[in-house]
């Protein structure tokens, strides 16, 4: 780590201190007297020990880790085949925000009370509605809120399992609630990702710190989700319902599913039968007892909610109503994400809990109340004005930033639907230091705290998702508006630092084991696993072939007419046949090969296969080892930079192959040999077998002059990673003496060669056994028997038309198995149509 000498360690601290002196609002690090706050020694240590140079290095390291782990946020590109924008990389500032144990305990108590209050409020809103009928709470705040879901009204025992609360500091430094996230709170996965990255880039500081750990929170969450299953269910099955990889927080969803050990599913992976939710799978029918819902409520059921939704599944609401499935959180919980509730919460707390509300919110005026409305309208220039419900049109408007005309428009909007608006006094918000090349800069800080409620109590994650903007004069702090993430370190009051995770009771432990067992594999998952296997293998096979052709081109391209040049042409043409990438008219063999390494847009290229590998892997992120992401990320980088125009392709292809071998290693060594492995390995085997068959067809299945034939044979063996075995055998006199026969035997029929077609077919049979599909096991065994019965001497004699037709037959058998596998296991639902009733027109005299 280099430390620029011009920035002494103390410079960063002093520079920051002088910046926060002149600002309004509290700072996390320094108090008003310019002293480091108690509990902030870790921040001081980090800054003083690393200096700005060290912090910048940590920042760069954090970015690399984020890139490697594929931690992303934001919208993915909608166009399937165009690579690149799979959302922005998540940006983590390396300095954590530290919160002392005493302060945290106070905050925790407040969050616990709030969770209890919101639960009781939810029960009343979807139950007796006494708060409304007794005029404690204005009816419009419930019935006029888009989060009030009439379709689930009256469903009882709906627990708000998950909770999140956005907080910032008020002028007095007290944590103040900005917003409750009750519907489908996101960010717990990001919080864990922040911790993993920050603890690595600040490892020296982190090692010495006595912190609350986060992992236990996810165990608690897994348990709490199991708790809400119907009481009669012995071994509850939980799934995480995602809107898909093309959503802003796709990483968070998938990572959370991984942390919880529950499968990540999409609406298409489930269906409703007999008023229950099931995982669609050809193997066995498996009911789902609990759905951790990351799909917005209104999109969850096209039958009862938004009919234009493609995400949810029809019958889900009915299933919830019948108690066949429990949703976490319940579909109606969004009504609590409601700024209009703020002025009424103190009275509601007294009413429902008999307690004073602990955590304050910013002073808020609900415009549905006439005198509050007039306060808001006369103070528009100093208030934050926002709708009570999240709508299509965003969000908070800062009165002081509006022009006179904009203020008039806002006034009209408020007068049009007063009940839909609130005005809030701005919260001062604290600042926290952000590492920038020019020093530590203050940014406004918002904390998202997370909680889960189980049968006994509400548990708060000892940490959270910190976000900080880079402009302390702005009050906008959100990931969507480009805020940076910060890890939040809660100092342990118990130095063992394990408060968040007490050892489970034996009963609990059994539940955990049950919860984390493997579930049925949905067709979408099976399909993507299969293609992870195929594309990884396709990329590898193509890269090997191109590497051989590239070497030949380097040696022989300038010597036309030689046997070497002829061999090169055969191999380049074979590569073209396999990839489907034809040369442009002006392209020589070297440029043609370069095109086959290619770009992600161009079908058949190495880059395309790698891109599709990443897309497929992202769709089954929860099924794969975390280790795969940094390899895929390196692969991406390798292919993003084409080899220099005058150099060989080999160095780049070597690097690509290293990554692909690493992928294969991770996959092999980390996946349990169950159905999921069956589909993935099935993809690898079918692809490698087809690749080898196609290569043999394009090369050895055509008779050539012996000198060329011999060189082509060597090249093919090299492309198939079998040249050493071949030489060893030839030298020891094993196997057929004639090279073409020997090579064909080794690559087609030798069940001991891990590169042969016969070997792939045997492994495919194993894979099909794992998927539990007897029909495909039989089909594969038949193919294996026919390979075993081949007379290679006969096949390789004469003009080799017999070899060609045999290879064609093998290829057809493999294709038949592949399409049968696809038809039997990857079937999507038929198209879905919504039939809305027609207007009858009625009756007129």
């Amino acid at each position: 780590m280099s430390r620029p000498a011009s920035v002494p360690a103390a410079g960063a601290l002093d520079g920051y201190r002088s910046l926060v002196e002149s600002q309004t609002g509290p700072d996390e690090w320094f108090d008003a007297a310019r002293s480091v706050r108690p509990d902030q020694d870790l921040v001081t240590t980090a800054v003083e020990s690393l200096g700005l140079g060290g912090l910048l290095a940590a920042r760069a390291e954090a970015r690399r880790l984020v890139e490697d782990d594929g931690i992303r946020y934001g919208l993915a590109d909608a166009v399937d085949d165009v690579p690149g924008d799979r959302g922005r990389s998540w940006v983590i500032d390396p300095l954590p925000v530290v919160i002392g144990s005493l302060e945290w305990a106070r905050l925790e108590a407040g969050l616990r009370q709030r969770a209890q209050l919101l639960q009781l409020l939810h029960d009343d809103v979807y139950g007796e509605r006494r708060l409304v009928s007794e005029r404690v709470l204005p009816a419009e705040l419930v019935l006029g809120h888009s989060g009030f879901v009439r379709a689930v009204d009256g469903i009882e025992h709906q627990r708000l399992v998950l909770g999140a609360t956005d907080l910032a500091r008020g002028a007095d430094g007290a944590w103040t609630v900005i917003a409750d996230k009750t519907s489908a709170p996101s960010g717990a996965g990001y919080a864990m990702a922040n911790r993993r990255v920050t603890s690595r880039v600040l490892s020296s500081v982190h090692r010495g710190a006595s912190l609350e750990r986060l992992r236990g929170f996810f165990h608690t969450m897994a348990n709490a989700l199991g708790d809400v299953a119907d009481a009669g269910v012995d071994t509850p099955r939980v799934v995480v319902l995602s809107p898909g990889t093309g959503t802003e927080t796709a990483f968070d969803q998938a990572f959370l599913a991984t942390l919880l050990g529950f499968p990540l599913v999409e609406g298409d992976d489930l269906n409703v039968r007999d008023g229950r939710v099931w995982i669609r799978s050809t193997g066995r029918r498996e009911p789902v007892d609990v759905v951790l819902r990351r799909v917005d409520a209104e999109f969850c059921d096209p039958l009862e909610l938004r009919s234009d939704s493609q995400l949810g599944l029809p019958g889900l609401v009915e299933s919830a109503r019948r108690g066949g499935v429990s949703l976490a959180n319940p579909l109606g919980a969004g009504v609590l994400e409601n700024a209009g509730l703020v002025p009424y919460l103190p009275a509601i707390a007294r009413r429902l809990l008999g307690e004073e509300l602990d955590l304050p919110s910013a002073p808020t005026w609900w415009c549905g109340d006439a005198s509050s409305r007039s306060h808001v309208l006369t103070n528009l220039d100093s208030l934050v004005v926002k709708p009570i419900a999240r709508g299509l049109v965003v969000a908070a408007r800062f009165g002081w930033e509006l022009s006179a005309a904009q203020r008039d428009d806002l006034r009209r909007e408020i007068e049009e639907r007063p009940w839909a608006w609130v005005g809030q006094e701005p919260i001062p918000m604290s600042t926290a230091p952000v590492v920038t090349p020019s020093g530590l800069a203050p940014g406004r800080f918002v904390l998202r705290a997370f909680g889960v409620t189980d049968e006994e109590r509400h548990h708060v994650m000892p940490g959270g998702l910190g976000r900080v903007n880079t402009d302390p004069s702005s009050m906008l702090v959100s990931s969507a508006s480009g805020a940076l993430a910060k890890d939040v370190w809660v100092l342990a009051d118990d130095p063992s630092g394990v408060r968040g995770w007490s050892a489970p009771s034996p009963d609990r432990a059994r539940t955990l084991v049950r919860l984390q067992r493997r579930t049925a594999v949905a067709p979408r998952v099976a399909d993507n696993l299969f293609w992870v296997g195929r594309y990884a293998e396709r990329a590898e096979g193509t890269a090997r072939l191109l590497r051989v052709a590239d070497d030949l081109a380097a040696d022989h391209a300038q010597r036309p007419g030689t046997p070497g040049a002829a061999t090169m042409e055969v191999m380049v043409q074979a590569a073209a046949a396999l990839t489907g990438v034809a040369p442009r008219a002006d392209q020589g063999p070297v440029d043609h090969l370069r095109a086959m390494v290619g770009t992600p847009h161009l079908l058949g290229t190495v880059a395309h296969a790698c891109h599709r590998l990443v897309v497929a892997a992202e769709s089954v992120r929860d099924q794969l080892s975390q280790d795969i992401w940094h390899i895929l990320s390196r692969l991406d980088r390798t292919l993003a930079t084409p080899a220099p125009a005058d150099s060989q392709l080999r160095p780049q292809l070597d690097t690509v192959l290293e990554s692909l071998l690493a992928v294969a290693g991770v996959v092999h060594e980390s996946m349990v040999r169950d159905q999921t492995w069956g589909f993935l390995d099935g993809g690898i085997r079918i692809e490698r077998a087809q690749h080898t068959v196609s290569l043999l067809r394009a090369t050895l299945a055509l008779e050539r002059p012996p000198i060329i034939d011999g060189q082509v044979t060597e090249s093919v063996l090299e492309a198939c990673e079998s040249i050493l075995t071949h030489r060893r055998r030839t030298a020891s006199g094993e196997g057929p003496a004639w090279p073409v026969q020997s090579a064909t035997s080794l690559l087609l029929a030798d069940t001991g060669n891990p590169r042969s077609v016969a070997f792939q077919v045997d492994r495919l049979a194993d894979a099909m056994r794992l998927t539990g599909d007897d029909l495909l096991v039989t089909a594969t065994a038949t193919l294996a028997a026919s390979l075993a019965g081949l007379d290679l001497v006969e096949l390789c004699s004469g003009d080799r038309s017999a070899l060609l037709s045999t290879l064609t037959n093998v290829d057809e058998s493999l294709r038949a198995i592949s399409s049968e596998l696809s038809a039997r296991h990857f079937g999507r639902k038929p198209r879905r149509r919504v039939l809305l009733g027609d207007w009858s027109g009625g009756v007129r005299a």
Binding site: A139, E140, L143, V272, P302, G841
Partner: protein, 304 residues
């Protein structure tokens, strides 16, 4: 239909038969439906019997009482089919009183709105007073409402006047509007059907501060003089209902220019058509076309 007379308020019984048939050009593998297949009980009607028949036989038929108090049915059919037929047969005893308009006239539109605001049930009031998806109260609706529902008008007279105004100002024409027509479209088109007129009446009532709900049901018709009734020739109907300060609802039918009488059978009510759509579904199929056929018969039963 004949004009309204005292005879129309006598108690009676109807059998209502409502058959919905969907036909597809390919197999539907799974079908989920939600509909209102049992009339609700109301102060003016009692359900004597109700029978639901669905072919193919559903794998699950479930009923619950929805947010508005209606009988909502969930249907799951997993037998592959190209024709789905849902038939509901109900026998209903109906007796609507004549509305005491003079009594209502002790309030003005404005004083009624105030009384409801101050003393009415907040849930009911907010449910039926706030805008709903198909009843968006914008400037155009407010302007029309102001021309037909003056704040100072006596309440009883105003309800009759509103019913008459829509009847007079809008032509009855089917096929011009559909489930996606908004009030703003209607005010430009100046023509529509009962669903449109009901939505407009609700928009006017809500603009004036009076909670209004959408009622879906049936209305007995008489065949043209000298002609036989054709089977299946009736239709479902819709009208509006307004909350009055005493807590009673008054049902008005702007399509026919009078208040409801004993020829009116209620199925369900809600904020607008969306809440009480008689039958809607989600199907899984490769079929690209479907046809919908609805047959309704409202038959007055002989007195026992």
């Amino acid at each position: 239909m004949s004009r309204q007379g005292p005879d129309d308020f006598t108690p009676r019984r109807y059998e209502v038969r409502h058959r919905t048939t969907y036909t597809y050009d390919d197999d539907v593998t799974t079908c989920y439906e939600r509909g209102f297949l049992r009339p609700r009980e109301t102060p003016t009607q009692r359900v004597v019997s109700n029978d639901v028949r669905i072919t193919p036989e559903p794998d699950l038929l479930d009923e619950h009482t929805d947010h508005f108090g209606n009988h909502s049915f969930y249907v799951e059919v997993r037998t592959p089919h190209q024709v789905l037929e849902v038939t509901k047969s109900s026998v209903v005893h109906v007796a609507w009183p004549e509305v005491d308009l003079a009594g209502l006239n002790r309030w003005t539109v404005e004083s009624a709105a105030e009384a409801i605001r101050d003393t009415g049930d907040p849930v009911t009031r907010a449910t039926y007073l706030l805008p709903s998806p198909l009843v968006e109260v914008d400037e155009a609706v407010k302007a029309y409402a102001a021309s037909v529902l003056a704040p100072e008008a006596p309440l009883g007279d105003a309800i009759v006047a509103l019913t008459h105004a829509i009847f007079t100002d809008f032509a009855y024409r089917s096929g011009v509007t559909n489930v996606r027509t908004t009030l703003q479209d209607l005010l430009e088109l100046r023509q529509g059907v009962c669903q449109d007129f009901t939505h407009l009446a609700l928009g006017c009532l809500r603009a004036a501060g009076l909670p209004g709900r959408y009622v879906s049901g049936y209305l007995e018709t008489s065949p043209p003089p000298g002609q036989q009734r054709l089977e299946g020739s009736d239709a479902s109907h819709a009208w509006a209902s307004v909350l009055t300060p005493g807590g009673d609802w008054v049902d008005l039918d702007p399509t026919n220019d009078h208040l409801a009488d004993s020829r009116y059978v209620v199925t369900a009510w809600g904020r607008d058509f969306r809440d009480v759509s008689p039958l809607k579904g989600v199907i899984y199929t490769e079929s690209t076309t479907s046809s919908l056929d609805v047959g309704v018969d409202v038959t007055r039963l002989a007195e026992l």
